[in-house]
C-alpha cells in the first residue's frame, strides 16, 4: 500500500489532496478481491494507469495555466513586452557568445578521432613553439612509439596559370604523403598521395580543394589526370578533397607532396608543421615525455644544431591563437554580466508585478487553490516569458553572428563559420530554462508563501525584506554594468592609443600590389631585375603615379624576415640579440612610403652584383651598433656578405602598430646572389598616387602582363587599408563589448528607475502624511533622490573593485593603458551617477507633484 501511495506522488499535489484517499481506498479494495496470481497483474496495471493519468492531469493543468497566463500577460502588455525584450537581450547575447565559443574552443575537429590528433613543435629556450627541421622531424618520427602516424606539411603559395584566364595567386600546402591518413580523411574524388608521389624527383601531383575544383574545372567529375600549372610547373590532378576539408587552414586550396630531400641535413632550418595521431592507449603526457626524451638525445648528439632542444605537444583542437582564446573568454565574461543584469532586472520586474497581484492571488487561495497550484501558475507565466524571450534571443543571436564572426580566427582547420546549430540551440534552451528559473521561480515561491488571507486586507504592503531584496538586485546590476563600462572605456583608450602610433611611414594614397616571381624561372637575380625595371619604368611614367618601388615585404604584411647581423668579421648567426628586419628594395621605395632618408643616399640601380655591397639601415640600428659615431661607411655582415652603410632612414614598425619590432636593414635588389633567398626577392610593389587608385589599377595590371604574361597580380589594396586592418580587430572587440556595456547600463538605469518608481507608489500615503504635517514637496522629492544616490554609492565601491580585477585580466588587450586608468574610472563613476540621477528623476518628480489630499485618499 505504501508503494501505491508513493506512486500517487506522480500526480500534482492538488489532485492528490482531492482524490488520493479515495483512490487508495479503491486500490485496497481491488487488492483484497484479487487472488494470488492476479495480484501481481494488478500492480502492473496500477503502475501503467497512474503514469498515464498523472501525465494527463499535468497536461490539463498546464493547458489551464497557459490559458490563464496568456490572459494575465495580455492584460499588462507593457510589462510583457519589457520582460520579453529583456530576456531576448540576455539570451541573445549569451547565445551569440556561446556560438563563437563553441566554434573556436569547444566543437570537436571535423576529423574522425580528432581528439587523438596532436600538433608538435621544437622547443628551445625562449621559443616554446618552433617549427621542425626536416632532419629532426625524421628522427622524431623514426624514434617515437607514441604515435600511430605522424606527418608534416609546409604552407605554400603559388602562381596558378590557366590558359585563357588571368594568372592567380593561390595558397596551399606541401604535405608528406601520410598527412591525409593521419587526419583520417580521404579525397571525395580520386586518391590520396602515395609514398611514391612523395619521393624526391617524382612526377608532380596535386590534390585540389572542392572550391578550386569548382572554379577551375566547373566541378567536372572527369578532372583526374588533367594538369594544372603552379609556378610554371605542371602537376597532374589525382584527387579532390571534400568541401568541408580545411587543413591547415581554410585558405588552403591545393595540396602537393612535400618531397623532402634526404640531403636536407640542416637542423636549424625549421619550417615544418607536424601533426601526429596518438596510439589509443597513449596519453598526451606519455607522448610529451617520450618526445622530450628523444629531443634530449638529439641535443646530445648534435650539440651545435640541436642545443637545448625540447618538444612541445598540444592537442590539435587547442591550437587556437592565444589572442582568439582570450577574446572569446572576454566575450563570455561580458555576456555573462549582461545575463546577470537581465536576471536581476527581471526578478525585480516580477517582484513588482507580484506585489500588484497579491489580492488576485489571495482570492484564488481563498477559493481553494493550493500553494503549489499558485506557484505553478506563476512559474508557468515566467516560463512563457522566458520561452518567448529565448526564441527572440536566438533570432537576435542569428542576426548578430556575422558581426561576431569577425572575432573568430581564420586559421582554424574547419571550413564552416559560427552558426546557430543544434548545439547552440541546446545551449540557448538550457540558458533560457536557467534564466527563467532564476528570475521566475524565486518570486513565485516568495509570493506563494504569502498566499494567505493577509493579501486581502486593505492596504497590505510588501515588507522591508522584499524592499531589501530588490535593492540588492539593483546594486548587483550596478556592479555588473560598472565592470562592463570600465572594460569598454579601457578598450576605447587602448584603441585611441594604438591608432595614434606613428608607423614610421605615410600610408595615404599609396597603392600596393604583389607580383611573386616564381622559381626556378626567376632564380637568376638579373632576370628579376629586368622584370622590376620593365614594370617600374612604365608604372612611374603613368599619369597620377608620383613614385614607385619594390620591397621584399611591406611593413604589417611581412612581419618577420629576420636575420642576425655581425660586426668585425664575427661569424653571423651567433649573436641572436642582433637580429634585424631584413628587406631588399628597389630605388623609389622610401619615397613612395614617405620614409625620410636622414643621412646618405637611397639604394640605386647601379648597386649591382659586381659593385661594393651596400646597405641602408634604420636610425635605431645605427644608434644601437655605432653610438656616437657616424654610421655612414660602417661595415657589418648580414646574409652571407659584408656590407657598407650608405644611408640611414627613419625607423618603421614592421611588425605592426602594437609592436616595436627590430631595427631595419634594406639592401639593393640586385645584390642577392643568384638562386639564393627566394623569399627575400622583392615582390610587393608600392606606388604613391596623386589620383584615385581606380584610375591606375588596370594600367598596372596591363604593365605586369606585358612584362610577363604568366605573372599574376594579387593583393591590390591601399596601404592605408592595411594599416586600418591593424586596428580592425580592436574595433570589432570594442563594438561588441561596447554594445554589451550600453545594454547593461541601460538595463541598470531601468532597474533603478523601476525600483524607485515602485517605492514612490508604495509610499504615496506616507508622503501624503508627511506633506500634511508640513513637509515641503522638495523635501519629499529629496527623500526619493537620496535613496537613488545611496544605491549608487553602495554599488560603486564593489563595482570599481570588480572592474579593476576584470581590467587586470584584460591587460593583454590594453596596449599599455593602465588597468587602473583614472580617466576611465572617473568617467564611468560619473556616468553611473548620472544614470542613477536620471533613473531617480521621474519618481522624484512624481513625489514632488503629489497632492497631499489625494495621496491620503488613495486607498479609500
Amino acid at each position: 500500500m505504501r508503494f501505491y501511495r508513493a506512486l500517487l506522488h506522480l500526480y500534482p499535489a492538488s489532485f492528490r489532496a482531492e482524490y488520493g484517499a479515495e483512490m487508495e481506498a479503491i486500490f485496497a479494495r481491488r487488492r483484497r478481491d484479487a487472488s494470488g496470481a492476479s495480484a501481481g497483474w494488478l500492480w502492473v496495471q496500477a503502475f501503467g494507469e497512474v503514469a498515464v493519468n498523472a501525465a494527463a492531469v499535468h497536461a490539463d493543468i498546464l493547458r489551464q495555466d497557459l490559458r490563464y497566463g496568456w490572459r494575465a500577460l495580455r492584460r499588462t502588455p507593457s510589462f510583457t513586452l519589457t520582460a520579453v525584450a529583456i530576456v531576448a537581450i540576455g539570451i541573445g547575447a549569451n547565445t551569440a557568445a556561446f556560438s563563437i565559443t563553441d566554434f573556436v574552443l569547444l566543437r570537436p575537429l571535423p576529423f574522425p578521432g580528432g581528439d587523438r590528433l596532436v600538433k608538435m613543435w621544437e622547443r628551445t629556450p625562449g621559443y616554446p613553439r618552433l617549427e621542425m627541421s626536416p632532419e629532426n622531424y625524421r628522427d622524431w618520427k623514426r624514434l617515437s612509439s607514441s604515435f600511430s602516424s605522424m606527418a608534416a606539411l609546409w604552407t605554400i603559395a603559388s602562381n596558378l596559370s590557366t590558359p585563357g584566364a588571368d594568372p592567380e595567386r593561390v595558397t596551399g600546402a606541401a604535405v608528406t604523403w601520410d598527412l591525409f591518413p593521419t587526419l583520417g580523411v580521404t579525397p571525395r574524388i580520386g586518391r590520396g598521395f602515395s609514398e611514391a608521389d612523395d619521393r624526391e624527383g617524382a612526377a608532380g601531383t596535386v590534390i585540389l580543394s572542392d572550391a578550386l575544383w569548382r572554379s577551375l574545372f566547373g566541378a567536372q567529375p572527369d578532372v583526374l589526370g588533367r594538369t594544372v600549372t603552379l609556378d610554371d610547373e605542371r602537376y597532374q590532378v589525382i584527387g579532390v578533397m571534400p568541401p568541408d576539408f580545411a587543413f591547415p587552414s581554410r585558405q588552403a586550396e591545393f595540396w602537393r607532396p612535400l618531397q623532402l630531400s634526404p640531403d636536407e641535413k640542416d637542423r636549424t632550418n625549421t619550417y615544418l608543421t607536424v601533426v601526429g595521431r596518438l596510439k589509443p592507449a597513449v596519453t598526451l603526457g606519455d607522448a610529451s615525455a617520450e618526445m622530450n626524451g628523444i629531443a634530449g638525445r638529439l641535443a646530445a648528439q648534435f650539440p651545435d644544431q640541436d642545443k637545448q632542444l625540447g618538444a612541445t605537444i598540444i592537442p590539435l583542437r587547442d591550437d587556437v591563437p592565444r589572442q582568439s582564446r582570450f577574446l572569446v573568454l572576454v566575450l563570455n565574461g561580458a555576456a555573462g554580466c549582461v545575463l546577470l543584469i537581465v536576471c536581476a532586472n527581471l526578478a525585480n520586474l516580477l517582484l513588482t508585478r507580484a506585489l500588484g497581484r497579491r489580492r488576485e492571488i489571495a482570492v484564488r487561495a481563498a477559493i481553494g487553490a493550493g500553494r503549489d497550484r499558485i506557484v505553478r501558475q506563476l512559474a508557468t507565466e515566467s516560463a512563457m516569458l522566458g520561452i518567448a524571450g529565448g526564441a527572440i534571443g536566438v533570432a537576435l543571436a542569428y542576426l548578430t553572428l556575422p558581426v561576431l564572426t569577425t572575432l573568430a580566427p581564420v586559421s582554424l582547420p574547419t571550413a564552416g563559420s559560427p552558426g546557430v546549430d543544434a548545439r547552440v540551440l541546446a545551449a540557448a534552451a538550457v540558458l533560457t530554462v536557467c534564466t527563467a528559473f532564476a528570475f521566475g521561480v524565486a518570486p513565485a515561491l516568495r509570493l506563494g508563501r504569502n498566499a494567505d488571507s493577509a493579501g486581502l486586507r486593505e492596504g497590505a504592503r510588501g515588507g522591508a525584506r522584499r524592499e531589501r531584496l530588490r535593492s540588492i538586485l539593483v546594486v548587483a546590476e550596478l556592479i555588473a554594468s560598472i565592470v562592463l563600462l570600465v572594460g569598454t572605456g579601457l578598450l576605447i583608450q587602448a584603441l585611441w592609443a594604438v591608432s595614434r602610433v606613428d608607423p614610421g611611414f605615410q600610408s595615404e594614397h599609396v597603392l600596393t600590389a604583389r607580383t611573386t616571381l616564381p622559381w626556378p624561372k626567376y632564380a637568376p637575380t638579373e632576370k628579376r631585375a629586368e622584370f622590376y625595371k620593365a614594370v617600374l619604368g612604365r608604372v612611374r611614367a603613368l599619369p597620377g603615379v608620383t613614385s614607385a618601388g619594390y620591397i621584399s615585404g611591406l611593413p604589417f604584411v611581412v612581419r618577420g624576415a629576420l636575420w642576425s647581423i655581425s660586426l668585425h668579421g664575427q661569424p653571423e648567426g651567433l649573436a641572436d640579440s642582433r637580429s634585424v628586419s631584413l628587406r631588399y628594395v628597389t630605388p623609389g621605395f622610401f619615397t613612395s612610403l614617405g620614409i625620410p632618408i636622414i643621412r646618405g643616399r637611397d639604394v640605386s640601380d647601379a648597386d649591382g652584383p659586381k659593385s661594393p655591397f651596400v646597405a641602408v639601415v634604420s636610425e635605431s640600428l645605427a644608434k644601437r651598433e655605432w653610438p656616437g659615431q657616424d654610421p655612414i661607411g660602417q661595415r657589418f655582415t648580414v646574409a652571407f656578405f659584408e656590407r657598407t652603410i650608405v644611408g640611414v632612414v627613419r625607423d618603421v614598425r614592421m611588425r605592426g602598430l602594437e609592436a616595436e619590432g627590430e631595427p631595419q636593414v634594406y639592401m639593393p635588389y640586385r645584390q642577392i646572389p643568384d638562386g639564393y633567398m627566394s623569399t627575400y626577392a622583392p615582390k610587393d610593389l608600392a606606388m604613391k598616387l596623386s589620383v584615385p587608385p581606380g584610375q591606375v589599377v588596370s594600367a598596372v595590371r596591363q604593365i605586369v602582363k606585358d612584362a610577363d604574361p604568366s605573372e599574376p597580380v594579387s593583393d591590390i589594396r591601399m596601404l592605408s587599408d592595411i594599416v586600418a586592418q591593424e586596428t580592425a580587430p580592436r574595433e570589432g572587440q570594442l563594438r561588441v563589448l561596447g554594445a554589451f556595456a550600453f545594454i547593461a547600463a541601460l538595463l541598470a538605469a531601468v532597474g533603478i528607475h523601476g525600483l524607485l518608481a515602485f517605492g514612490v507608489s508604495q509610499r504615496v500615503q506616507e508622503f501624503g502624511v508627511r506633506m500634511a504635517v508640513g513637509a515641503q514637496p522638495s523635501q519629499v522629492a529629496g527623500l526619493v533622490l537620496r535613496q537613488g544616490v545611496r544605491l549608487a554609492l553602495i554599488g560603486v565601491v564593489p563595482g570599481v573593485v570588480f572592474a579593476y580585477l576584470a581590467a587586470r585580466s584584460l591587460a593583454a588587450l590594453l596596449a599599455g593603458i593602465s588597468p587602473a586608468d583614472p580617466l576611465t574610472f572617473s568617467a564611468v563613476v560619473g556616468l553611473v551617477a548620472l544614470m542613477t540621477v536620471a533613473g531617480s528623476l521621474l519618481p522624484a518628480w512624481r513625489a514632488l507633484r503629489l497632492n497631499p489630499l489625494t495621496a491620503l485618499r488613495v486607498e479609500i
Binding site: E18, E22, M23, E49, N53, A56, D60
Partner: protein
Amino acid sequence: MNSEIQSLLPLQPATFHILVAVADDDRHGYAIMQDVAERTNGALKLSAGTLYRSIQRMLEQGLISEVRQRPASHNDDERRRYYRITTLGTAVARAEARRLADMVKLARARGLAPEGR
C-alpha cells in the same frame, strides 16, 4: 447554453458513462466504477486514475457537482464524496445520446447495424 453543449460534444466514452451512472442517483467514485462495469457487462472497466481525472474535468466543466449532503443510508464512509449530475450534465448526456442514436440510424440505413432491439 446550446452552443456550450455543442462545444463539449462528442464526449469521451468515460465521461458519457459517468454521466449515465450519476443520472438517476448520487454516487461516489467506487459506486460509479461498479455501475459502469455492471451496465457494460464488464466491457468497460474504469481505472481509478481515469475516473478521478474525468471527475475533476467534469467538475470544472460543470457537468457534475459534488454533493455536500451525503445520503444518510447504506454503509457510508468518511472518505467518500458523492457526485450529482447538473442540469448542464443532463443536457449534455441527452445531446450525446441523440448524437449516438443518429449515428446508429445512419449505419442501420446502410445495413451496418442490427434492426431494432
